[in-house]
Structures are given as C-alpha cells and as structure tokens.
Symmetry: C2
C-alpha cells in the first residue's frame, strides 16, 4: 500500500465526482487513485509524527489501507463520514449560493483527507467540513490530549487508526449562530515500548451551538432535535451528553462556555460498536435539520455595529477554546496533522478587547449569563 | 500580611501617583495601601492555584509581602519593573497622544499587579504593559510549562515567587511592527510532597519584533541595539539569545516564526544574580530606543487594503503562538492568574484565512521566507 500511494507513483485517473459516487454506492474497495500527486515540503520544525501529505486531484475511492478493506468498522465509518460530508455540504451550498473549495490528500503509507471550505460566502464567513483517515503514531502527550487519560504518561508512542468528520460553520450575520460537530472512531494497537497502552477502540463526538445572542426557541429546537436522536438509542444519553458538552466546551480560564452546548461524548466503548456507529450516524444526519433552519431564519436579520462587534468578541473566545482546550485541535497540532484542515475551525475574523464588560440588562449580558450558567433549555 | 491585604480591610488612602513616585524614589518599604477594595467573584470553574485578586485604587507602594522587604532581589526586581513600566508607558503615550488605562490589584496573602492598556489609540490598536508579583503554588504542569522541564512530572505543587514585566504593542499601521518584551525573576521553594523540586531561582525574558513586512534597516537597528546591550554583559549572550529567540518564537505546527525574533533567555542562574539583574535592567531600558523610533517612522505610511489584510493574518499567527506555545500565557492560564492581563497580549483584531498563499516575489512572500528561515540580520 505504501508504494501504491507513494509520491512518485501516479496511477489511473478518476474524477472526484466518480470517486464520491463510488463511495456513496458502497463500492469503496476499488484501488485508491492518485492523480498529479504533488509532495508538499513539510517544515523540518513541524511536529512530524504523521507522514507528509501528498495532494491528489479528486477524492480517492477510499482513504483506507488495503489491509483494512476487510475491517468492517473502519470501512463503515469512512463511508458514513463521507456521505455525511456530501449531504451537509450540499445543504450549506444551497443556503449560501456559493460552492465549497475541496482539497484532497493521501499519505504514503495510507490515510488521507478531504477538506472542503467555503470562505467569504454570501451567508457564511467561513464554513469548513473535513473528513480524514489517519494511521499514526500517537506521542504520549497526544494520547493524553485525545483520551484525557493522564495515567498513560509513561507509555511510548501508541500506533493508532482514526477516522472522522469535523466541521465548524461561522455565518456572517451576528444573529445567526455558529455550529460545530465532530464524529470520530479511534483504534489503538500495542506498539513497541508501549507498556500500559493496550489495544483499544472508542467512538467520540458531539454537536454544539455557539450563538452570540440567546434566542430561546432556536436553542430549544436545536437541543430538542439532539435529544430525539439520543433518546432513540438510550434515554440516558441526552442528559449525560448535554452535561458533558457543558463541561467540555468551556474556557476554564474564564469559567465561561463558548456557547450554549449541545451534546458531547468520548471514549465510548461500553456497548456493541454497531450500536455506537448507528448513534454516530444519526447524530451526523441531524446536523442539517438542527442547524440549517436557524441560519436560514437569521441570515438577513438587521444588525448594528455593536452587535457585529459582540459577535467578533465571541469569536475571539471561540479561538481561545479551540487553541487551548479542544482535543481535536491540540491532538492534531501535536501529531503533525494537516494544519490548514485542523485550523479551518477558526473564524475568518475576530476581536480581543481588554476587559470587555456587558451592560447590565442587555442581550449581551443575557448571553454571557447563559455561557457562565448553562441552562436546561428543554425545561424552560 | 494576609490580613493587611484582606478583602475586608481597607487601609489608609494614597493616590496612584504618590505610590508610583514612592516606588521610583526607592521608598518601597512603606505599608501597602488598599483603597476601595472590591472582591471580584472568580468562577468556580477557573483554574484556581492563585487566590482571587482584589481591585485597589492606585498602585500600592509595593506588591511584596512584608516578610520580603528584606529580600534584596525581590525588592530590587519589583523596583526595576515598575520603573520600566513608567518609562515605557510614558514614551508610548507621547507617541500615541492618548493615555493608558490602569487596573491595579492585590491578593489576600500578598502579591498583585498593575496592568496598563491603551486600546483604540491614535497610533496603537492595542498596547499593554503589565507588572506583577505572584506568590503561588505551581501545579506540576505549570512548573513544566514555566521551566520546560519534563522531569518534574512527579513532583507535587511547587510554591513559587515571581515578579515580572510583560508587554505587547500592536500599532494600527501594517508597516509599523509589533513588539513584545518580558523580563521576569522566579524563585521556587521546596513545599510539601515536592520530591525532586528543590529551591531554585532564575531570570528569564526577551524582546522580539513582529513586523508584517521586512524593512531590513529597521530590523538591523532593532537587533543591533539588542546586541549592544548583550555585549556589555557577555559577548556570548547575543548569538546565544538570538538563536534562542528564533527557536522559541516559533509556531512549531507551521515551521514558521511569528516575526523576526530578537533575544530570548530563560532559566538563567549561572552567575551572580546582581549581574543578571543588571542585564535584565539594561534590556528593559533598551525597549524604548529599540522600538519607538520604528513606529514613529511608519505610523503614517500609506497602505492598501491587501496590506492591512496581511497584517491581520500575521496577527492571527500571533494569537496561535501565544495561546499554544507562549510560556507566560500557558503558565498564567494554568495557575489561574488574572485573565485580562494575561490575554492583553492578543491583538485587537485578527484574521484566519484558509490556506493563505503569498504571491511569488511579493513582499508578503519575502516576509514569510524570513519567518521560516531566520536571517542573521547583523551580517546582511
């Protein structure tokens, strides 16, 4: 497989459209295709636990290694995230009226990614949807960042497989909320010098909403649809994962969440993986009905300069969260993933004011209160 | 001392001006003064290794604990950084034509800070100069962040004393560079459960320049003055600390420095502390002649929208560095320092474009080359 995807071995041509159609129809076991492969020189200074990416024209039929074509969960998870990417990008393009730009890459010994970004659109300032498959060596600190497990400090590098979809969408209008979602599947293998790091697998993910202003009915609708998805699988999920999101999407140094939460879960391996796959699939399918109507509703709302400025300040807090705490981002920066894809989540523009205060009784103060004191939206 | 600076014990009134004058004239052993003390409710969720700050009106004569009035280096270092703050702020105010806002606080059991910020000025978009004295318990991860010493992982919290000045100034004009400087003095004591964490002291600091565009004569002048200061103390300092700055002010995940460096050093304790104090003092004194003339020269340069956008992108990279790598910032966020002072370094506005490319042969490409491949400015 290493040679099939090598930087110097261009293979049969195939268009991105055909590749995606093939992926959608389940024909994902065809040989991966590399067209006009162009090696990008990665700086010697970058963290380099993952190999250099090789840009390819059009998405390969699969990003998996050939040896994984018989690994049911790896195959199914990649299929799921690629279908979700297609569906969600189509809905965003329809609302925005402009198209995503796509970058696709593979790595010499397997894995790769498909990044789609819509920047400076009509409705969205920046929207990105990434799909990736990674075969890597997790440095111990990345393993800790990924799992939150500090006890693994003494282990050596941990070989891992990861596949996931991850997305953030920042609309222009300050009354239209930002959304983030990410669904991922991980496996680790015991490697050399890996005392105490056993083979493990887990699912993780979440969907959370970051409005600048509180519109109660919008947030109820968002949380309500997520609860419906959760309840279909386990009635304990929504209360547990809603709490987890409130605990996770938190700028600890400010005691302030970035938004109004949603659901978040990680290290999930307490039941049949097929059940967890079905849950992750339903969560990904819920992104469009949860979110797109909220942007459609507010994209043309009138707004003041002060409201735009408040949105920019909230975006600054979003950057703080992503660079300081977000597991996917910190994990990606430490393992040497593709930087432009990892940091696609950052807003196009933002603002850091010194000691910004919200006027008492204002809508900004109400929003800040909701960020500091999470509400049970469905009980209001 | 805890009761003298307690939240409920207002003492004799004294103005900030009088306090600063007293500090300048060396009369820093008078009792600290707290006027209109107002406790700020710190979120229960914030990292809280340091006590809550208590806002006071006007800077106290000293931020030290009374028991430290006889500790020569603690006394001298506080005096040095407070004088530097006064001198540098005066020079910035003269250039900008507007005034710094000052916030001052103490902590119940000693220590405190003076933050001065000039936001939305005529010349500066945001300029901040902080002075602080901290008595704290360093969590092991903060000790690691501060010292870069991973071997201390097993030690418990480390009691420490720190005093420093830290500053970032972001001018409006994209042709005028940003500067950062920070000079600090640390002591740690053995505490309970601190196997392997002995009493230690060290000096650290640096001054570095972040232009959006390369103006060779400006950078030569900046580095040249820093070299003069270094050479006065040790001819090995400039080459060593210039290299250290090039290694330190680096966005590792991009293999790209935030700017054109300067000097950086840390964990310095290899000679008489008086010599290191004299060196830090000379470095702080060099800030005004190194930097202010460069802003004066470029503050009214004409610029295009594209040049402003490039500056905004470079500011985004500045935020990346500060939130992901900067020792002072990550240390401050982990030890529960005053957030608004720690994050004062972030620019007022910035921009994150997906996969921004610089046109070949452009001034932006030249700047990027200098950020990726540090130059020996004084040999050009």
């Amino acid at each position: 497989m290493a040679t099939l995807l090598g930087t110097t071995t261009p293979l049969r041509a195939k268009t991105a459209v055909a590749s995606r159609r093939a992926a959608r129809t389940g024909a994902i076991r065809a040989k991966p295709v590399v067209v006009a492969a162009a090696a990008r020189k990665q700086s010697a200074n970058a963290a380099a636990a993952i190999e250099e990416e090789v840009y390819v024209e059009g998405a390969p039929v699969t990003l998996l290694r050939e040896e994984d074509y018989e690994s049911p969960m790896r195959v199914k998870f990649e299929k799921m995230v690629r279908e979700a990417q297609d569906t969600i990008c189509a809905a965003v393009e329809e609302l925005d009226g402009s198209k995503f730009h796509e970058d696709t890459w593979t790595r010499p010994t397997g894995g790769g990614g498909i990044s789609r970004v819509l920047q400076d659109g009509n409705v969205f300032e920046k929207a990105g949807v990434n799909v990736s498959v990674v075969y890597g060596q997790m440095p111990p600190e990345a393993y800790r960042a990924a799992t939150g497990d500090d006890s693994a400090g003494k282990a050596g590098p941990v070989p891992f497989f990861a596949s996931g979809i991850s997305s953030v969408m920042h609309p222009r209008n300050p009354h239209a909320p930002t959304v983030h979602f990410n669904y991922r599947y991980f496996e680790t293998d015991p490697g050399e010098n890996t005392e105490g790091a056993p083979r493990a697998w887990w699912f993780g993910g979440g969907t959370d909403l970051t409005p600048s202003y509180i519109v109660e009915e919008d947030i109820k609708s968002f949380h309500g649809l997520l609860k419906d998805v959760c309840d279909k699988h386990d009635e304990d999920f929504y209360p547990r994962f809603k709490q987890w999101a409130d605990d996770y999407f938190l700028n600890k140094h400010r005691g302030e969440r970035r938004g109004v939460g949603g659901i978040f879960f990680d290290d999930m391996n307490d039941r049949d993986p097929e059940e967890l796959l079905a849950f992750a699939t339903d969560c990904a399918d819920a992104v469009v009905p949860c979110y797109i109507p909220l942007v459609a509703k507010h994209k043309d709302d009138p707004f003041t300069e002060e409201e735009k400025e408040w949105q920019q300040i909230r975006r600054g807090r979003y950057v703080e969260f992503n660079l300081v705490y977000d597991r996917g981002t910190t994990f990606g920066l430490k393992t040497g993933g593709r930087i432009e894809s990892i940091l696609m989540s950052l807003p196009l523009t933002c603002r850091y004011e010194y000691d910004h205060k919200q006027e008492e009784g204002s809508r900004e103060a109400d929003a800040m209160d909701a960020f500091k004191n999470p509400r049970n939206w469905l009980d209001l």
